[in-house]
């Protein structure tokens, strides 16, 4: 099935590049969503069965592929909405959708791949296809954003590659000749700790560019800002998960070795710094999209805290990852509507949104409460468990520091969100406000409801999937 999926996606993507027909575009989008859905069902059924040598859908991959296939439906829907409101040339639309299909497909493939090299190739592919999306609007600023994104991602991907080379050095003369995660995991104790340390460091640093963690989170912010909002939704959710997968899979290998404590420290430092950076910029940023991007940095930091703390933290981290992937796109989609109403990304220009679009305003309000993990948001549960794991593993000061920083973030975020919702905008012409139908906010409601539902009352299947995803990690 994975083979069919890859070929199918490639074909659809190619078809898009040449398509100039709107109807065809819609049909292709349907086809791709169906294909992706089919893939999700297939990998769910055929769990842990290797396909095409390099792809093994383990529990984590299954979860994330399912998330991806859910997210891609509203993404396509909003992309069409986006194109119906913005002037475009036909080939631009084709390029956009082609790149998007390629991006989504390579993201899923990256989740599924069980081989370091293959994962690496697909991550590289995501960079390429994402940059096509970022450059969609073709002006000076998008060019700058794209350039930075490609440049930073290329360097990071090189770092990852160096890390992989170090792994090969680590396994030299140990009788292992391939780079399958499963093989490495089984033989983890044989590997030379020195090389493993180095390779972890390089691979982690490299993947932070995708995952949105300190130190390489920087270009991702610009990318999410400059990409059209449906693409931003992908960049800010499922694409970040790719980075997470890259780190997590290698973390699984190191978890059985003597460098485990050291890796945890690295994760912890990076995580705290990420939350810190998010706090610094949430206070300063007035660009709504960048604000959301920084919020993503914060959440990845929290996820890494959970991983570093261990215990229930593993479960919490994966749950948080899933919930974040649902919540963040909702915000981005809503941003699209805000932009359509006000024609500006700046908090200064947006105001009294509650008056102009009540359904959308409610989305923003709920999304704020959900993203900042106020109970009864589902993310509260995962954050609670992360905190618990931090507490249980004795990182009390880390916990307190994180709580302070999170408070700062909520304050900063809240100030801006409520300003947008309730304070009268300056110089805003009320006379021709576009009425935005409820149907366009529906997907956001569904996504947010999913976050609450999955957090507060996760179905048994999900719980067991998460548990088997973290089953190889030490208790």
């Amino acid at each position: 099935m994975i083979g069919i999926f890859l070929i199918g996606s490639l074909l659809i993507s190619l078809a898009y590049f040449f398509s100039k027909n709107h109807l065809l575009n819609v049909v292709l989008a349907f086809a791709f969503c169906l294909l992706h859905g089919a893939l999700a069902i297939d990998v769910y059924i055929h769990r842990d069965i290797t396909q095409l040598v390099y792809f093994t859908p383990d529990a984590l991959a299954v979860i994330l592929v399912c998330v991806n296939s859910i997210i891609c439906i509203p993404v396509f829907y909003h992309s069409f909405v986006y194109f119906s409101k913005h002037p475009y040339k036909p080939h631009e639309m084709g390029l956009f959708f082609g790149a998007m299909v390629l991006l989504t497909a390579s993201i899923s493939a990256a989740y599924l791949s069980n081989h370091m090299g293959i994962l690496w190739i697909f991550v590289e592919l995501t960079t390429l296809s994402a940059s096509a999306l970022i450059y969609h609007r073709r002006n000076k600023l998008t060019l700058e954003g794209t350039w930075k994104y490609i440049f930073i991602c290329s360097i990071s991907i090189t770092l990852v590659f160096i890390g992989i080379l170090f792994v090969t050095l680590a396994i030299q003369h140990k009788g292992i000749t391939d780079l399958f995660y499963t093989t490495l995991s089984e033989n983890a104790t044989l590997l030379s700790p020195f090389w493993l340390k180095l390779s972890f460091l390089f691979i982690f640093t490299g993947f932070t560019a995708k995952a949105g963690l300190v130190p390489m989170y920087t270009a991702g912010i610009d990318a999410k800002d400059k990409a059209p909002y449906p693409a931003g939704a992908i960049l800010a959710s499922v694409l970040m998960n790719v980075g997470f997968v890259g780190i997590f899979r290698f973390y699984e290998i190191t978890s059985h070795t003597e460098i485990f404590a050291w890796t945890n420290n690295i994760l912890l430092i990076s995580a705290i710094l990420s939350v810190f950076v998010a706090a610094v910029y949430m206070l300063r940023v007035k660009n709504i999209k960048r604000m959301m991007a920084y919020s993503g940095v914060e959440h990845m930091g929290i996820i890494m805290l959970g991983i570093a703390a261990g215990g229930i933290g593993y479960y919490a981290a994966i749950l948080h990852l899933i919930l974040h992937s649902f919540a963040k796109p909702a915000l981005f989609f809503q941003f699209g509507q805000i932009y359509r109403t006000y024609g500006s990304k700046s908090v200064y220009d947006v105001g009294h949104y509650f008056k102009y679009n009540i359904t959308g305003a409610l989305v923003l309000l709920f999304a704020f409460f959900i993203v900042t993990a106020m109970p009864p948001s589902g993310m509260f549960v995962s954050e609670f468990l992360v905190f618990k794991s931090l507490f249980a593993s004795g990182y009390l000061w880390v916990l307190i520091l994180t709580m302070i920083l999170l408070t700062v973030i909520i304050w900063a975020f809240g100030k801006n969100v409520f300003k947008m919702l309730f304070i009268k905008p300056v110089d805003f012409d009320e006379s021709n406000v576009t009425r935005i139908p409820f149907s366009e906010s529906l997907s956001q409601y569904i996504l947010l409801a999913l976050v609450v539902y999955l957090g507060l009352n996760p179905p048994e299947q999900l719980v067991s999937l998460i548990h088997s995803a973290i089953s190889t990690l030490p208790k």
Partner: protein
């Protein structure tokens, strides 16, 4: 029952958003009534001895959600229901003056309904995680209620300030719950007891402190009170009323619940609460007096009353620690009765202030005056509530303060720390005196004399529908004041829970005293009535009406009147060290000076020290890192290099230092 409650809440929320804007208020009233009846039904049963208990299955995350209603919760539920009902009855009328869009109205009423439901949930739920959810819903909906007039930046600022501070409260509660959960693996409240029994005294005390600060922020204990004086003036009056009357009491409930679950350290906890409460009470009233904004003044009085409640709780806890049933009874009963009393008179005060605001469109006391002639009923209600809040007989405030006094006095006799207790007595006496100063000022300046400022529109009394809930509240205030013995017997069961045994002694003594007080109070009322009749009989009917005696100055000028600022001027001089005074004054220039304008504002020193200063510094500190995202790709690359380099170098350096130390040691 819980399911029925949830369904009815959802149903009414749906209904509110659907009906015509004019009808939304009615639906909300109906919703509150239905929910209140449901919860009161159980609460009344619980108060008469049949505690309610149920376990809901909360799925894998929450585990079993214990729904329990003991008599303490029941008491709080009844207080909440009454106040919330009065609040919505008043609020529906109050909002007539504030034309808002249908969506705003819907949001307001839905939040109100949800807030009530969440409060009910807080009192019912004894599962930590579910409790936190209910707690946060309460905070969020309260936030939405506060920002009803959200077009003004100050309102929103006050609202966000409140939201953040209540989030800090949540964080501390979360910390406490995590603490307990990590050790016991259970989310049930009983786990706290289990933990405290197993963990030792010091750990239990530390846990108590964490929880106390968490709940204390909500309750408004000094120095965690700073959100209160901002949120109350910003909110619509009925919301201020319920916030002050009910929401902050959720914090009190939390502390009481905690005291119930903490099996040890009673003396330490008691003295701690007592100390904090004394400071709270004094600080609240001291700052209340110098406020010029009526609602801010009332907000500071809420802090004061939380202090009084806290003194009661503290003395009750000490009583339990010392094994003195009367002290425990008087303390806890006083505290819990004061919870009700404060809810009544404070909401009545806010409603009256709301009427005044609707008439004058200002909250500044110095611009008011003489309203008693235009709004006699509002004035009467304000007067009753003022007398009650000052703790004067024959009103309800006196009863609870008297109970607390009795507890304190018996503590003086029976404990070895009389010098600490006497401080509480002095504080309580001072609080009474200061409250008197404050409310003579408030009532006198707002309602008496003549208008201190040109009033443009004609001022009229509110209609009867508005006055009706106020009247009901006032009647209850007087009722408690006149027949306190009834309420003492109601409070028997909740208080018994703290003492782990049916206590007849403390209850019997208190009931006797209350009987006597009732007699005395009736005597007082009777005496006044007799003298009033005597006045009618004896006094000459010959009455002349003229201007006020102005020292031979016969033209009456409203500007010559005493103002609020001048009324408290000498007092303000005394308390100067406690506040930050900001004065703006015009210079007298020229031969014929222009009209001059002087303004004085008193700011909360604690707020600037404990909130503003750290916030400013934290912002400044975080602001120093703004160079990170500076747009330069080179820097971005550098971060990665630095991260890798440091990660490699630091362990190496540490190792090297260690080796060096090793070598040095061998030398």
């Amino acid at each position: 029952m819980s399911v029925a409650f949830l369904i009815s809440t959802l149903l009414f929320i749906l209904l509110i958003s659907l009906v015509h804007p004019g009808k939304k208020g009615m639906v909300a009233v109906a919703g509150i009534i239905v929910n209140s009846v449901m919860s009161s039904w159980i609460a009344v049963a619980a108060l008469s001895g049949n505690a309610f208990s149920q376990v809901l299955n909360g799925g894998p995350v929450f585990g079993d959600i214990a729904i329990r209603l003991d008599s303490i919760s029941a008491w709080f539920i009844l207080v909440t229901n009454f106040t919330m009902l009065m609040g919505i009855l008043y609020g529906r009328q109050y909002l007539r003056h504030h034309p808002a869009r249908s969506a705003d109205m819907s949001m307001h009423y839905i939040s109100y309904l949800l807030n009530h439901a969440a409060l009910t949930g807080i009192y019912f739920i004894q599962n930590m995680l579910a409790f936190l959810c209910a707690w946060e819903i309460m905070a969020i909906t309260a936030f939405i209620l506060v920002i009803f007039e959200h077009a003004r930046m100050e309102t929103l600022k006050a609202g966000i300030n409140y939201l953040i501070q209540s989030h800090i409260s949540i964080i501390l509660l979360t910390l406490g719950f995590i603490w307990v959960y990590t050790s016991t693996g259970s989310f049930d409240f009983e786990a706290i007891r289990t933990y405290c029994l197993s963990a030792g005294k010091e750990a239990a005390l530390l846990l108590f402190l964490v929880f106390f600060v968490g709940f204390g922020i909500k309750a408004g204990f000094v120095p965690f009170h700073t959100w209160l004086p901002h949120a109350h003036p910003a909110a619509p009056s009925h919301v201020s009323g319920i916030m002050s009357g009910i929401l902050i009491k959720a914090g009190i409930y939390g502390i009481l619940r905690l005291l119930l679950l903490m099996p040890e350290n009673h003396l330490a906890m008691g003295y701690f609460i007592l100390a904090v409460s004394v400071i709270t009470g004094l600080y609240g009233v001291i700052l209340a007096i110098v406020q010029h904004n009526i609602k801010k003044l009332l907000a500071y009085h809420s802090i004061e009353n939380i202090g009084i409640i806290g003194i009661g709780m503290g003395i009750g806890t000490i009583g339990v620690g010392l094994g003195s049933p009367f002290m425990a009874f008087a303390g806890y009963a006083g505290a819990m009765l004061h919870v009700l009393n404060h809810a009544l008179f404070k909401s009545l005060l806010f409603y009256s202030a709301g009427n005044v605001y609707n008439a004058l469109h200002t909250l500044v006391i110095d611009r008011m005056g003489g309203l008693i002639r235009n709004m006699p009923r509002t004035a009467l209600f304000f007067l009753i509530a003022s007398l009650a809040i000052c703790g004067l007989p024959p009103f309800n405030g006196f009863i609870s303060e008297f109970l607390i006094y009795s507890g304190l006095l018996s503590a003086i006799g029976s404990s070895h720390t009389a010098s600490v207790i006497i401080l509480a007595v002095i504080a309580l006496a001072l609080i009474g005196g200061l409250a008197l100063l404050c409310f003579t000022k408030a009532f006198g300046i707002i309602f008496l004399g003549t208008a201190r400022h040109v009033q443009h529109a004609e001022i009229r009394e509110e209609n009867n529908a508005t006055l009706f809930p106020m009247a009901l509240t006032a009647i209850l205030i007087i009722f408690i004041g006149l027949l306190p013995q009834l309420f003492i017997s109601v409070l028997r069961r909740p208080v018994e829970l703290f003492m782990n045994m049916p206590d007849l002694e403390g209850m019997r003594v208190s009931a006797q005293i209350m009987q006597q007080i009732s007699i005395a109070v009736w005597g007082l009322v009777l005496l006044i009535a007799i003298l009033w009749l005597l006045r009618k009989a004896i006094a000459s009917r010959q009455v002349t009406v003229g201007p006020t005696w102005g020292c031979a100055y016969t033209t009456d000028s409203p500007k010559l009147q005493y103002t609020a600022s001048s009324f408290v001027r000498s007092y303000a001089k005394i308390i100067k060290p406690l506040t930050i005074t900001k004065k703006s004054k015009d210079e007298v220039l020229g031969i014929i000076p222009k009209p001059l304008h002087t303004e004085t504002h008193f700011h909360d020193k604690l707020e600037s020290g404990l909130v503003d200063w750290p916030t400013r510094n934290l912002r400044g500190f975080l602001g120093r890192f703004k160079f990170l995202q500076n747009g330069s790709v080179q820097f971005y690359v550098l971060y990665g290099v630095v991260f890798i380099a440091i990660s490699i170098a630091v362990p190496l350096i540490i190792n090297a230092v260690r080796n060096l130390a090793h070598i040095l040691k061998h030398l």
